[in-house]
Every structure is written in C-alpha cells, then in structure tokens.
Amino acid sequence: MALTRKKEAPHEAPTHRLMVVDDSNVIRRRIERVHDLLGIEFVGAARNGREALELYEKLQPTLVTMDLTMPEMDGNECVARLVERDPNIRILVISALADKLTAIDAIEKGASGFLCKPFTDRQLNEALRKLIES
C-alpha cells in the first residue's frame, strides 16, 4: 500500500512536490521530516519502483528521492521510466557509498543528484536544497 498525505501550504504555495521512494520506513520518515524546512510539499511515498510509477500518475511530483536498491523494480529502472515521462523531474538517488557505480548509472539515466547512505539530516537538507536550486 502506498502512503499519501496532503499538507496545506505553510506560507506561500510550494512549487516543489516531493515523492519519497524507499523501502525503509525509517528513511521515509526521516525524509518526510526534513521536507518542511525547504518549503517542499511532500505529496507521497512509495516503497518500491513499481509503486512509484503507479503513484507518479496520481501525484505528479517534481522532486523524487529514490533508494537505488529496492525490491520489485530497482531504482535505476525506475529513474529511467520517470525521466521518460517527465524529462524535467529532479531525482535524488540515495545509495551506499560503495555503490557509486550504480549511482553514476542512475545519473546517466537522468537522475540529478546523489546522496550517500548513511546521511545526516543536514546532508539530506543540503542535497535537497541543491536539487531545488539547480
């Protein structure tokens, strides 16, 4: 089951709609928590690539954070499919440090940034900020 949640805009209408794709509950919660800081509207979370693609149609996110190693459909394939649907979508791929090759693959397929696991809230914040500002 996919989790979706709507949040009212805090002060001004946020222009970035964030979807989190991660099979870990903990990581999903952490990312949801940080989004408030940047005026990003969190629109939903998916647990794997297949779910993310389904949700994409409904949520129309502009930002996606994506774990690269997930069941069902791996992150890289999901990145490629999402970029195919929206070439302007900004995807932050999240993966272990030792897995840079996979991350490079994802960027080749159209992801915009990379965040190395494990990350601190500040690093996450910074990565999302860069993603928005790019």
Partner: protein
C-alpha cells in the same frame, strides 16, 4: 559563437581596413601621378616641336635665299635642295609629333589647340606644296653654257621662278603659321602648367597617404608589440602558476588524452614522467581497483553530457578520495591519499570538449581526520556506549554478548590456526569474514553502532584481502591487530553491561514511599570504584557514603540516569549533580516513554546546558552544575502527571535559536524579526532543529528534542520550556493520567 569571435577582435578589422584603404589610395595616386607625368612629358615634347617648327620657315627662307643666290651665280644647287627636302620632311614629322603629343597630353579634344594646329599646318602645306615642286624640278640641267658664260636654262628659270614663288608664299604665310604655332605653344604651356600643378598635388597627396600608412603601420607594430608583451607576460604567469601550484591541474579530452599543458605537480603527485598526451585511463589504472576505474570512466563520460549539473554529480565522483600506493626509491611502497575533482571547461571555440582535472594530495587531511575521529571515538566512547547499552533490552544484550564472545574467539582461533597454503589462507579469510559479518548484523540490530562500525572497518580490510589473487600470512597481521582491538572493545561492553545490569537488577523502591531527593553524588563513589577511574566529586563523598547505606534499594531508572550523568559529564569535563524526585512513582505504562525522555533530556542538559566547571566559576556560579528531574502528580489538575527537567546552565539563547533557525531555513528573516522570545523558544521543538548537528557529530547518539516532543504528543501530553539566560532552562512535560488508550496503542 562566430559572431563573438568576430566581435572579439574589432581592432584587427580596423587595422586591415585602414591599411588596405591607404594602400589603395596610394595606388590610385601613383597611377594618376604617372598619367600626369606622361601628359607633362607629351606636352613638353609638343612644346619643343612647336618651338622648333616656329624656327623652321626662317631656316627654309635662308635656304631659299641661298638657292636664289646660287642660281644667280650658276652654282651647284644639289646640296641646298637636299637640305630643303630634309627640312620639309622634318617639319612634316614635327607636325605629326605635335599632333600625337597633343593627344597624349590630353589636348586632343581641345578645339583651340586643334584650330591652331590646323591653321599652322595649312599654312605650312601651301609652302610645302611650292617646295615639293622645287624638289621635283631637281638640280640637273639648270644651266646652259653660252659664249657669254653660263646662264639659266629653261629648267633653271623654272626653278628660279619656283624659288621666288616659294619665297613669296613663305613671306605671305609664315608669320601666320608662326602665330598659330605660338598660340598652340601658349595653350600647351598652359596645359603643362596645369599638369605640373596637378602632379604636384598628386605628389603631395601621395606623400601624405604614404606618411599616414607609415604611421598606421608603426602604430599597429607598437600595438602588436604591446600585446605580444602582454601575451608573453601572461604566458610567464601561467607558467609560474603551473610550476608553483600544489594541485595537479590538467585537461582531459573526450578521447581521455591528457592535454599538453599541466601543472608540474601532476608529475609529482601521479609519479609520471610526462603526463601530456597520456591516456588518463592508463594513468589511473595502477592507482585504483577495477571497479573504481570503471566508475571513474563512467563519471567522466557524464561530465560531457549537456544536461548534467556538475555540482550535483560531484558527490558521485568515485575519485574524490583514493588510496594510491606508489613504490618509493627504497624499494618499498608509499601510500598517498589523492583527491581528484573534475570540471567541464566551457570555453568559446573548438576546445569545448575538455574537462579540467584537479588532483591534490590529501594524505595529511585524511590522516588528521582519522586521528580526530579516533580521538573523538575514544573520548566519547564510554558515554556513547553506555547510552547505547541502556537502550538495549537486558536479555538481548546478554545473549548478544555471549554470542559475540563466541564469534570473536572463533575468529581469533581461525586466524591463529596453522596453515600457510593459499587455500588455507582463503578459508581463514572467508571464515572470519562470515563470523564478523553475522556479528555486525546483530550489533546493528541492537543499535550498538560503535561496535558495528568497528566490525565494519575490519570487514573492509578483509574485503580488500579477498580481492587479492595471492595471500601471505603477513597480510593477516593488521587484521589480527584490529581484531584484538575489537575484543578489547567487547570486553569494555561486557564490563559496562555488568554495571548496567547491577543497576537494573536492584529492586525499585516500594511504591507509595515518600519521594526522596536522590543525591547523585552519594553513589558516585561506588560507580567510580567500578570504573576504576578518578572520581570527579571525590572531595564531598565520604560523608554521603557514610550517611547512606550501600544496600539501600534504588529505582532502576534513577540508577541508569545517574550512571549516564556521570559518564556524560566525565566525557565532557563537566561536574554535574543530579537530583531526582518521584521517579519511582512513574506508572508502568509510562515507564518506557519517560525513560526515553529522561535519557534524552538529561543528556541535552549536560551537553548543551551546563557550562564547563571553569566557565561556571568565572560566572560566579558553583563549579558543579545541577540537573533536577522531578515527576509529580499535578497538584492543580489531578488529571495530569508532570515531569520537570531543569538545569542551572546558561539557558536558551534567543539569538542563537533565531540564528540557527534561519540557517536551517525553518523561518525566513521577516518571520525572524516578528518572533517574540516565547515563540522563538518553541522553535527548538521543530523537527530538524535539535538533531541535525548532533547526529552528524555523534552518530547514533539518539534522538533530539523533536523526538521527545513527538513522543509526548503521542501520549497526549504537552511540553513547554521556560528559561532565564545564564541561569536555567526548565522543560515541563505534562502527561494525561488517563493514558490507558495512548499507552495501549503505543505499547
């Protein structure tokens, strides 16, 4: 881009245009000048001929007169007649020359000149006619001999008549012809003067243009020299920079060839004789493993993609830190840490397929960071470990410790077992790896991150050994050393665990007993003896210890908190006294959340609230800080419990909070200006406020204030803070008494 390159050198274009214009002007002037000179020459020829012609009739007259006299004296006429004939031919020729010259001198179309010439010519023609008749009569048979001497023959008489007639004609026409010729001469002279003037003007103009051209060329030569000097200076500067800069700078083309120009450090850092023209892949190959090499090549490929944002992908740079081994002169190997960074060169022109590579030696930085990390790990490890252990279920911890003990023994036994064949060594390696990997999983599951990190480090070592094709016994030495350290750490855990279980094992005070203020110091003696380290508060202990019987039963939470306060304070060089009140009254369904809240808040109070002893003394406060934790049933409202955590540290700083909230982007500057103190203090409960720095600095040290407030809200409670700068910070948490629903759902 083309337009820009044209626009980039407007002076060059100006130079070319000006020079060409000058040269063209000079050519035109030269041609005109030459024309003028030709005209001048032709005019002067015409003038000369005309003046000669003016003389001609007089000469002819003289000759004719001579002939007359010769006839009278019956002398020989042949010579004179030939002279006349020559003069005739000469005059005819002169007229022809004059006509041609006039045309050349540009007077061909001048009607006055033509009229004068025609007039002169017609006059001459009539004389010429006579002279021709004379010529036809010839010089023979002019005289007949008579007895009285020679006298004119009939022919002679005709000749005489012709001569007389010619002289008459000459007299009649010649002045008119002279006049016409003078007129013509005057015209030609005027033309000559004109041509002379215009030639002069052309020459002056030509000289001016030539001077201008010379000046232009000198100017541009000067300019060129200046820019050449600037270019030389720039080149020298670039050379100086490249020779001096400590980073290795080089360019890599799309074909991975290293460019001609690179800084001297490249040679030194990469131990290369001549990097220029080498393939970057070949240069990199001996420095990194195959996977990194493949990743690096892919990464470089990414840089050439148009859509990729360089700042964003810098984080995937697989060469941001590599460990490279070089053989040194003494035959050994030297390990250096190198950092590469790459940036696409977006230059104007054809050289856009370049990436600027920067390589630097970060060995010092890496080693320093490791040392610091080690230092921090060592100083914080006791407190961290204790905090971790406190949060682990006792039975689970016990189980883990015994299984870890077994795993480590087994690993140790495997490593020290005999066997030096490749297969034996491989088996050892794989066996130890399996054991440790399983242990790491268990440690991580129990959130014993310090232990998991240590095991992870050993795993990394084993992993790199696994990648080797051949192994030797010596390769295992560092692993054994690390394993030893790990075993020591495990023993430390065991010791602490025993202390924790002593604390946990003691029985709680009987329910309903009057709330007693528990003095943290009273037990510190016992704790420090267990630890075997120096006690911080030794001076005041004796009395307390004597006053309080050691056997006195303690609430396990109170014990845990006291232990935590001791350890945390010791790690941070602070002196802290903990007072707890009423914690034994905590109802069972609140035990878990209140324990979590107290651990976090106590840590916060010591880490962020209480100042170091020295600072406190300077501020005129007691050197020893105090943290009070009390749990009460609210006297005003019987439906709530109240937990208060108060420290006498430096209080919350309004400025610091605003500053941090701005930095984190929680509020914007205009909101910041509008915030009053009370609202500002509420910011600390916002998600992300309190945790960010802590997690990055002390990974795995638990949760922050936002987690506390989340927890409190989950139980239907409220949290508030009051503070006085420099004096205290007090957190009040109220929890509903009828929390059965919340408790059961949270359990």
């Amino acid at each position: 881009m083309k337009a820009r390159s044209l626009a980039a050198h407007p002076t060059q274009w100006l130079q070319i245009v000006a020079t060409t214009a000058c040269a063209a002007a000079l050519t035109v002037l030269l041609v005109v000048g030459m024309q003028r000179a030709d005209e001048l020459q032709a005019a002067s020829v015409a003038l000369k001929q005309a003046s000669e012609l003016t003389e001609q009739p007089q000469t002819i007259r003289t000759e004719l007169t001579l002939i007359q006299r010769e006839l009278e004296s019956t002398a020989y006429l042949g010579d004179s007649l030939r002279t006349v004939a020559a003069l005739r031919a000469g005059s005819d020729q002169s007229f022809q020359v004059i006509q041609n010259s006039l045309r050349s001198a540009g007077l061909g179309d001048n009607p006055d000149a033509a009229a004068a010439l025609t007039s002169a010519r017609s006059r001459w023609k009539s004389l010429d006619q006579e002279l021709r008749q004379l010529d036809e009569l010839g010089s023979n048979g002019l005289y007949v001999d008579t007895p009285s001497g020679s006298e004119l023959s009939a022919t002679g008489r005709r000749v005489k008549a012709a001569v007389d007639h010619a002289l008459a004609t000459q007299t009649r026409n010649m002045s008119a012809m002279s006049q016409a010729l003078s007129q013509l001469g005057a015209l030609v002279q005027a033309n000559l003067d004109n041509s002379g003037h215009s030639l002069q003007a052309v020459l002056v103009g030509g000289s001016c243009v030539a001077i201008l051209l010379l000046a232009l060329m000198l100017y541009y030569a000067w300019r060129w020299r200046l820019s050449a000097m600037a270019a030389t200076a720039a080149e020298r500067q670039v050379t100086n920079i490249l020779a001096t800069v400590r980073e290795g700078l080089f360019l890599v083309g799309r074909d991975l060839r290293i460019g001609e120009i690179c800084s001297d450090s490249v040679r030194h850092l990469l131990r290369l004789e001549s990097p220029a023209g080498r393939n970057f892949r070949d240069v990199l190959q001996p420095l990194v493993d195959e996977k990194t090499l493949a990743a690096a090549m892919k990464f470089l490929g990414l840089l050439w993609k148009e859509k990729v944002h360089e700042d964003l992908i810098e984080s995937v740079n697989p060469l941001s830190q590599i460990e490279a081994s070089f053989s040194n002169t003494r035959g050994g190997t030297e390990v250096r840490y190198l950092a590469f960074s790459f940036r696409r060169v977006r230059a104007v022109g054809a050289s856009d397929d370049t990436v600027l590579g920067v390589v630097s030696d970060i060995t010092d930085r890496v080693l320093l960071a490791r040392e610091l990390e080690q230092l921090r790990a060592d100083s914080g490890s006791q407190a961290t470990l204790l905090l971790q252990l406190l949060q682990v279920d006792r039975d689970q911890l016990q189980l883990f410790i015994s299984s870890a003990d077994a795993a480590l023994r087994k690993s140790n036994a495997m490593l020290t077992a005999p066997g030096i064949e490749q297969q034996d060594l491989k088996n050892k390696l794989n066996g130890v790896f399996r054991e440790l990997h399983a242990l790491k999983g268990e440690a991580a599951a129990l959130a014993l991150s310090s232990l998991a990190q240590r095991i992870h480090a050993i795993e990394d070592m084993l992993q790199s050994l696994r990648a080797r094709t051949s192994l030797s016994g010596n390769d295992f030495v560092p692993v054994v050393v690390k394993l030893d350290e790990l075993i020591n750490h495990m023993m430390q855990i065991q010791t602490l665990q025993q202390r924790v279980s002593t604390v946990r094992g003691s029985r709680p005070a009987p329910a309903g007993a009057p709330s007693t203020e528990v003095d943290a110091e009273s037990d510190s003696h016992r704790i420090t003896t267990v630890l075997g380290s120096s006690a911080l508060l030794e001076s005041e202990q004796e009395e307390d210890v004597a006053a309080e019987p050691k056997s006195r039963a303690r609430d396990p939470l109170v014990e845990a908190l006291r232990l935590l306060s001791q350890e945390t304070a010791a790690a941070l060089a602070r002196v802290v006294r903990l007072h707890t009140t009423g914690l034994e009254l905590v109802p069972p369904y609140y035990a878990a959340p209140i324990k979590a809240v107290c651990i976090q808040m106590l840590r916060n109070a010591i880490v962020h609230g209480i100042e170091p002893a020295e600072e406190r003394r300077r501020l005129g406060k007691p050197a020893e800080g105090t943290v009070r934790i009390s749990f009460t049933e609210d006297s005003g409202d019987t439906d709530t419990y109240r937990l208060t955590i108060e420290d006498d540290g430096h209080g919350l700083s309004y400025e610091h909070i605003i500053d941090k909230a701005l930095r984190l982007g929680l509020i914007n500057p205009s909101q910041a200006a509008a915030l009053d103190r009370a609202s500002a203090y509420r910011l600390i409960f916002l998600p992300g406020f309190s945790t960010i720095e802590e997690i990055s600095e002390h990974a795995g040290r638990g949760v922050g204030l936002d987690a506390v407030s989340t927890l409190v809200r989950e139980y239907g409670g409220r949290i508030s803070v009051s503070t006085a700068t420099g004096r205290y910070t007090r957190f009040r948490i109220s929890l509903p008494r009828s929390a059965s629903i919340a408790a059961s759902s949270a359990a």
